[in-house]
């Protein structure tokens, strides 16, 4: 029964994918979209059923299908593990996935390749589910690379534009850098413990002390590199902003709500490993905090509505890693969920705006939309408040937990996190004011076509906005359902924060920070009506921020250019030299042959001379030399 359910869960989106690939064109756009949505919805329902079951029984479901890979000292099953963590993840992956599929039916309706889009989207959900339910690191790795592939496909969905294709390629390759790390981590664990299965690995790690601790540290580090790649942390974060080249639902689903959280999922999954390695945890916390800050600063000055959201995502992911680094896995998971709600909502809302403006993404060309698009405006406003950490919306609770954890861990981390939060509030409301307030700044023609989006777009927005508003309820301080639910996963029991003065003070500071950020944005953009400068006029530090600290350029200069130069050098010189050497041997022989012909000059006298010389040489060697 469980096996069947699990298979339905996994294969439903895959079936949707197959149908859309093979029959999508003939079925027509609406049918293809419906099938895509339904297949994910089926998964959602099944995950809900399984979730109920596990929530009640408290026993994870384990399913082994068949042997997949066998290496020397261990065998890898093709199997699923449905425990509290994976089911939780499944719920919001399939849930939000269904909503975004629904949204896409309308959003992509004008695209000629809508069925392809749904096929990719379904495939993504399939791989994401595989990633989540895999019972061992390698099955997870299938999903891990699979979602990377889908991300590649969807970022480059409009493949006629080579810049989009570049972005897609960049995303895939940067992910692969992380994947190599993950793979190395798998090797280390596999070699050390003869298994990569989560359950057995956990017991092995907890009981075995024969393994060199350095290896364990290395493994944790390697896995974290993998997480960095997928979850866009420093130094592998630059692909995510570029990934905004894909259609907006994709950004919402993959690059905000689900795929990019895979890193957090993996670290949480492997918490028993990371808990053993405080050094690595510190690294994670520092990198998380740094990413949160750096991305937030960049987001301050971006003018592309999706870019702002993208950097915001990177920044929020940084906060989650900060929590992970502090060992507060539940907190990170909590933020993942709330973030999924409000960030998906924000992306979809921005999609709605872009849709209304026929593809315009530059906030300098927007403004005044709140009158024409009230639903979009209100839902986005709720989400913005949530992400800014305004009481009592979901973001307040989760972010507050993170900051509180950081505060108890290290005050510097808390400071950084708080600054990032203030900035978040600022740039989010900068976005809101620029987009929805004041007057419209676009062309007349755009103005003429302005309209609120259709139902299929607004309904998901509304649902997500509601979730963003009340999502915090799952883990309120004092009634931490999530903490209890996840507790069986962690060997170290989570210390709940006792709500004392410090805690209330911290909450207050966080709330105040959010309000300050909003206030500054209000002063600047709503009250004074400032507009960001045109690209050419940006100067000073803003320019550095606007150009993203030139990190892309630095990478280009440090890695891409040298590799390409090396490639050209190898191709033009080394290859020529090596093959020239081989050819040279042949040529030298040929030259020898040509020169030798001159000796053979046809003169009998010479021939006789050599003859006699030969005779003398042989005779004297044989008889005179002794």
């Amino acid at each position: 029964m469980d096996t069947t359910l699990a298979l339905v869960l996994v294969l439903a989106p895959f079936a949707g994918f197959l149908i859309n690939v093979f029959f999508g064109k003939t079925l027509g756009k609406s049918v293809s979209g419906t099938i895509g949505t339904l297949s994910v919805a089926v998964s959602f329902v099944v995950s809900l059923m399984l979730f109920m079951q596990v929530n009640a029984t408290k026993t994870p479901i384990q399913i082994a299908l068949f042997d997949w890979i066998q290496v020397g000292n261990f065998k890898v099953d093709f199997g699923f593990l449905l425990d509290q963590l994976s089911l939780l993840w499944l719920l919001f992956v399939t849930g939000i996935g269904s909503l975004i599929h629904l949204y896409s039916i309308s959003y992509m309706h004008d695209d000629e390749k809508m069925h392809t889009f749904f096929a990719y989207l379904n495939l993504f959900v399939f791989f994401m589910i595989t990633l989540v339910v895999g019972s061992n690191l390698l099955i997870m790795f299938i999903g891990w690379e699979g979602v990377g592939l889908c991300s590649y496909l969807l970022i480059g969905f409009w493949y006629k534009n080579q810049e989009y294709n570049d972005a897609a390629k960049k995303a895939f390759i940067m992910n692969r850098i992380g994947d190599l790390g993950l793979l190395i981590g798998i090797f280390i664990l596999g070699a050390a413990f003869s298994t990569v299965d989560f359950a057995t690995l956990k017991t092995a790690l907890e009981t075995s002390n024969s393994v060199n601790p350095n290896w364990i540290v290395l493994a944790a580090l390697a896995l974290f590199i993998g997480a960095c790649g997928k979850s866009a942390q420093i130094p592998l974060y630059t692909w995510l902003p570029d990934a905004m080249a894909g259609p907006t639902p994709v950004s919402a689903l993959i690059h905000a709500a689900t795929m990019v959280t895979a890193g957090i999922f993996m670290v949480t999954r492997m918490n028993f490993l990371f808990s053993l390695t405080p050094e690595v945890q510190t690294i994670i916390a520092v990198i998380g905090a740094a990413t949160a800050l750096v991305a937030a600063t960049i987001a301050l000055v971006q003018n592309d509505i999706k870019k702002v959201l993208a950097y915001s995502t990177v920044s929020q992911l940084g906060l989650m890693f900060l929590a992970l680094g502090c060992g507060a896995y539940q907190v990170a998971v909590f933020h993942v969920i709330t973030h999924a709600f409000f960030k998906a909502c924000l992306f979809l809302g921005s999609g709605s705006v872009i849709h209304a403006l026929h593809g315009e993404q530059d906030m300098r060309r927007m403004g005044g939309l709140k009158k024409v698009m009230p639903i979009t405006y209100i839902t986005m406003l709720i989400s913005s408040l949530a992400i800014s950490g305004i009481f009592p919306l979901a973001g307040f609770w989760s972010k507050d937990e993170i900051l509180m954890t950081a505060f108890h861990h290290n005050i510097a981390l808390w400071v950084i996190g708080s600054i990032a939060s203030i900035m978040t509030a600022f740039y989010m409301f900068r976005l809101m004011f620029l987009t929805f307030w004041k007057d419209f700044r676009g062309t007349e023609e755009q103005k003429h076509h302005l309209h609120e989006s259709p139902k299929l777009i607004t309904i998901p927005l509304i649902i997500l906005a509601i979730l963003a508003a009340i999502g915090g309820a799952i883990n309120l301080p004092g009634n931490a359902w999530l903490n209890h639910y996840l507790a069986p996963l962690f060997s170290v029991a989570h210390q709940e924060h006792v709500l004392g003065t410090t805690e209330y003070m911290l909450m207050g500071i966080a709330l105040a920070g959010g309000i300050i950020g909003i206030a500054i944005a209000y002063m600047k953009y709503a009250k004074q009506g400032q507009l960001p400068e045109e690209d050419a006029q940006i100067t000073g530090f803003s320019k550095v921020l606007y150009d993203k600290y030139y990190v892309d350029e630095v990478y280009e200069f440090l890695f891409v250019k040298p590799i390409n130069a090396l490639s050209r050098f190898f191709r033009d010189y080394i290859e020529t030299a090596v093959s020239g050497f081989v050819f040279g041997l042949g040529k030298a022989t040929m030259v020898l042959g040509a020169q030798g012909r001159k000796v053979q000059n046809g003169n009998i006298g010479l021939y006789l001379f050599f003859f006699v010389l030969g005779v003398i040489a042989i005779i004297s060697y044989l008889f005179l030399a002794q």
């Binding site: 022989t589 040929m590 050599f610 042989i618 005779i619």
Partner: protein, 456 residues
């Protein structure tokens, strides 16, 4: 012994055929006769004996090699029909000379006395002088004949001197007696000097470096069929004779002597192969290739007590592929001014069968498997490594690689260039010789034991 007599008789008969105006029957009759002789020879395989006061000593070695020579001669005579089409009146002369040449060759491998050896080699050489210069009005042919004659008689002088020294040392020409005497402790220095001089003379005959200079010129200048004779029959005869000389007289092969052989062998391979790379004339190229093969065959001298079978095999493999190659060359270059590679352009399209045969022959010479040439080299290498000359084998291997360069030059020309002039006619005998010889070569390649086991 009967072989020799029968051959001489056959030669005389050939001359008589002309007198009694049976020219048309000449070639088939001679071939039949040779087949008869072949049967006669083979029947002596199990009857070793010596005749005429050990002038002629028949044993497995002589029978096997004689049979090989007879087979080669059959092919050569079959090719004569087409080759001498425009000199019908002299056909019987040429064929008779070839038969006499064969008798010289047979004498060279079945001698029991140095006098017989000397006579054999002179009969062979004089016949070849005549054949080389046989295209009377062609200056190239004249020049080839003259060069061959001058250098050949010079070499004969050296051989004669060598024989004289051996005689001086031993007081006899009889190889059996010499072999016995050579076991005695005290040998006059003249004996090894004599052996060395005779060896040098034979180096000349097999065209080993540095006594090889005549070969390319003579091969190029001589009529193609004569070249075929020289490069197949004459070369393997000389090699077999050298081998036989050393074994029959039980000459203790000293270390220094072996070094000489090794150096000459290396030099022959290397010079032959490198010089062949830049040749445009196919006959000349094959001359150099022949020089390199002489180098390979010399390797058998390093372990004389068990390499007779290998030598026979190598000789057979080399000469059969040579015959196949020359059959194609004769066809392609008929009525052409020269034998340049240009003539072979496009053969792969116009005559795929002949092109394939020539390819096979060249592959065999290059030592590519399933052709006999491969096994020949294999056993040679194996034996030489066993004898402890690994360096020589490595040089030989490197040379095999070089040799592919020019063999494939010809193959490339056949398959990748466009033909300039169409060739007409399908002369049955040429096709027959080419096919039979390449098939024999293949058969030897697949079942080397057939030949290898003849001589233990």
């Amino acid at each position: 012994m009967n072989t020799l007599i029968a051959l001489v008789g056959l030669g005389v008969l050939c001359l008589l055929f002309e007198i009694i105006n049976l020219r048309k029957l000449l070639v088939p009759a001679t071939i039949l006769g040779l087949l008869g002789v072949l049967a006669l020879t083979v029947s002596e395989y199990n009857m070793p004996g010596s005749y005429y006061g050990n002038m002629i000593a028949v044993n497995a070695f002589s029978v096997s090699f004689s049979s090989l020579f007879i087979v080669l001669t059959i092919f050569l005579i079959a090719l004569s029909h087409n080759f001498y089409e425009s000199h019908q009146s002299k056909l019987s002369d040429f064929i008779a000379i070839k038969i006499f040449l064969l008798s010289g060759a047979v004498a060279m491998v079945s001698f029991g006395n140095l006098a017989m050896f000397f006579l054999g080699i002179e009969v062979l050489s004089i016949s070849l002088y005549i054949l080389a210069a046989s295209s009377r009005l062609n200056l190239k042919s004249n020049e080839a004949g003259m060069k061959y004659f001058l250098l050949g008689s010079f070499a004969s002088g050296i051989i004669l001197f060598g024989i004289c020294m051996i005689y001086g040392a031993m007081g006899t020409f009889d190889t059996t007696e010499i072999a016995e005497l050579s076991r005695s402790a005290e040998l006059p220095i003249w004996f090894p000097i004599g052996i060395a001089l005779v060896t040098i003379g034979m180096f000349f005959k097999i065209a080993a470096v540095p006594f090889h200079f005549w070969a390319p010129d003579v091969y190029e200048g001589s009529p193609a069929l004569t070249t075929a004779t020289m490069s197949t029959l004459a070369k393997v005869t000389a090699m077999a004779t050298l081998f036989k000389l050393l074994t029959a007289m039980n000459a203790e092969i000293s270390y220094q002597y072996q070094i000489v052989v090794v150096i000459v062998s290396m030099a022959s391979m290397t010079v032959g192969n490198i010089m062949a790379l830049k040749q445009a004339n196919v006959k000349r190229m094959l001359a150099f290739s022949g020089i390199s093969h002489a180098g390979y065959m010399l390797m058998t001298l390093l372990s004389t007590n068990n390499s007779a079978g290998n030598l026979l095999y190598y000789a057979a493999a080399y000469s059969l592929s040579g015959i196949a190659a020359f059959a194609v060359i004769l066809y392609v270059c008929k009525n052409r001014d020269n034998e340049d590679i240009v003539n072979f352009h496009g053969l792969g399209k116009t005559n795929p069968l002949l092109a394939a045969i020539l390819t096979g022959a060249l592959l065999s010479m290059a030592g590519i498997p399933i052709f006999a040439g491969f096994f020949a080299k294999l056993t040679l290498f194996s034996q030489t490594i066993q004898a402890g000359y690994l360096v020589l084998v490595i040089v030989a291997v490197v040379n095999s690689i070089i040799s592919v360069g020019y063999y494939f030059k010809l193959i490339l020309a056949m398959y990748t260039k466009e033909a300039d002039k169409a060739r007409t006619g399908t002369p049955v005998l040429i096709y027959g010789v080419a096919i039979v010889s390449i098939l024999l070569n293949l058969a030897l390649g697949l079942f080397p034991s057939l030949v290898m086991d003849l001589l233990g």
